[in-house]
Amino acid sequence: MEGRGPWYRAYRRLRSNRLAIAALGLFAAILLFVLAAPLWADLVAESGPNETHTTAKIEVDGESREVVSPDGTPIGPVWLGAGGRFLLGADGRLGRDEMVRLMHGGRTSLTIGLGATLVTTLLALALALLAGYFRGWTDGLISRALDVVWAFPVMLLGIALGTALAISGIQIGPLTISSGSTWLPLLVIGFVLVPYMARPLRGEVLALREREFVEAAVAQGSGPLRVMLGELLPNLLPTAIVLATLNVVNAMMLEAGLSFLGAGVQEPDSSWGSMIADGVEVLATAPLLTILPGTMILLTVLSVNVFGDGLRDAINPRSKVRLEAHTGSYEPERGAA
């Protein structure tokens, strides 16, 4: 171990944490599950996620059954009885293949969870570096703006942005995002979570700024950009990685909530959250349509939470800073604002 870099030591510590590795395995399995969606849809289920089978009949163990019975009740799980078709049954009156929808919906949920986190992380890093490096009025301006967004309840801000933009889409310069695009919830979620990452990062940059190696770089004539990207950023990365991992949880929970309410992913696209919204309508007759996508969210969030904990311990074993994954609150930095 001696003489190796801090990243290698963190990797060694992480590798010896069996629980964290198991969680990573679970996450990888979920990732493979959703990535296999088009394969399963084409080769096994022979149905796209939005293909309806209202009047279709399938052979289940040699017996012909209706996908949707005349009173509108969808078929339940048939497992491998129909050669993989309708493995988990159909999703309601429209008779769409639930297994295919679960895989495709997961693609949307994970894309938004990971994509929004990327957006949040990049914005938060940029703001934290600018505020922490220049201090003074730049910091004042950025910090006040973060405070305001932070004071706004995440869900309400997401709902307001989500619905207003869902009506018409948005035009930013030459970039047009039409209503109904998955980019909208991705960007909305990425934006509203920025303060939760930028505030702790800014505090860290302010502390790093006082260290000798920064002074040395400035004395050698390094410009602001060089100090920010060459000196401060590499030292900021461990914290940023831990925060980003836990941010995935918040982004996915927020996506599920917004899509459940209709302010997130829009028809005909679906995510686990919007599938629950459809499922709750028929909860009494087909509870699986709610429980299945809900359980997928639970498993994903659980795996990220456990892995994130292990990652935090590996990167900073003596960490006293709590970075709890959580819909809404983080350990507030008293007075730092």
């Binding site: 309840p153 619905t163 909530g257 459940f260 309410l261 909860l283 709610t290 429980i291 007075g335």
Partner: protein, 319 residues
């Protein structure tokens, strides 16, 4: 103390102003729609759109538009053009259900969160602690969109143990009120029970290493007295701040989902229904009032906190 309170209140006014500008921008400036048509909603006719255009003054310069919107919202003149109902009246009517839900859930999560956290810390490293840790990680990973429908299905639809939804006013029948709220309370509280027990556990485990704890033991206090009077009391301080933030975030977040699932007819369900109908005026009203309430609440918590812990107000004025 008075100076600290005044400064916080001054800051609060600025934040409220900024939030109102953001809400105005979200609904009237950023989207590429015709705001009058969007606000008129799904029953729009050319006359209605013209009427909205007139009332909201969308031809005026932006600052005037902003003032018009604020006047509409705060004088109670904001109406939903789809349902023709007054927005502030609807919010006011939904408030008892929403507050019952949130306050009850908060009591439950504080009680169980602290109890489990305490037990976990006292048995740190042993089997009970491990089991409680697993439970709490499960708790913080439990999405409300799964837990609320699952409770509804397994405990109300399948087994008839609890009612399937609806709200009974407290003044009508306190027992029935609580009976109808048990499942919504539980759905909302589980996540925070997990979270608070984790936070309390780690605070207490840390505090047990402190010098004052050793002093307390040295002067002959029993282990139970040390734990409750010294360790627990000092570990509760950060929990108070977290509680203020979380209570506010529940009110403006998870409560909306829970209300919609259990048909509680509160402010949250009003918001959920309005989103489903893309009815903008109620969403504006709920967002603005919700955010205002949350900011006000947090400021009051801050002031109360500074009153309890002098280090904070002194630290602020020293800067």
């Amino acid at each position: 103390m008075a100076r600290f309170a005044l400064r916080r209140l001054g800051g609060m006014v600025l934040v409220l102003f900024a939030i109102s500008v953001i809400v105005f921008a979200i609904f009237a400036v950023i989207p590429s729609y015709d705001p009058a048509a969007a606000i008129a909603g799904k029953n729009r006719t050319p006359e209605l759109v013209a009427n909205v255009e007139e009332t909201w003054g969308f031809d005026d310069p932006l600052p005037v538009q902003y003032l018009t919107m604020m006047k509409l919202v705060f004088t109670g003149e904001l109406i939903s053009y789809s349902s023709e109902l007054d927005v502030s009246e609807q919010i006011w009517e939904g408030l008892p259900a929403t507050l019952s839900l949130c306050i009850g859930a908060a009591v439950i999560w504080m009680f169980f969160g602290l109890l489990l956290g305490y037990l976990s810390a006292v048995h740190a490293g042993r089997l009970a602690d491990r089991l409680l840790t697993i439970l709490s990680v499960g708790g913080i990973s439990m999405p409300v969109v799964l837990l609320a429908p699952a409770c509804l299905y397994f405990l109300a639809i399948e087994t008839d143990l609890f009612p399937t939804g609806g709200y009974v006013p407290l003044s009508e029948d306190p027992l029935d009120w609580a009976y109808h709220l048990v499942l919504p309370w539980a759905s909302l509280a589980v996540l925070f029970v997990g979270f608070y027990s984790r936070v309390l556990r780690s605070n207490m485990v840390e505090a047990m290493e402190e010098d004052y704890v050793r002093t307390a033991r040295a002067k002959g206090l029993s282990e139970g007295q040390v734990r409750v009077r010294h360790v627990l009391r000092n570990s509760l301080i950060p929990i108070v701040t977290l509680f203020g933030l979380d209570f506010a975030s529940v009110l403006g977040g998870a409560a909306i989902i829970t209300e919609a699932v259990f048909n509680l007819q509160g402010v949250g369900q009003y918001a959920a229904d309005s989103i489903a109908n893309l009815d903008l005026p109620p969403i504006m009203g709920v967002t603005l009032f919700g955010a205002f309430f949350v900011v006000l609440f947090n400021t009051l918590v801050d002031i109360a906190y500074a009153y309890l812990d002098p280090r904070i107000r002194l630290g602020e004025s020293a800067r």
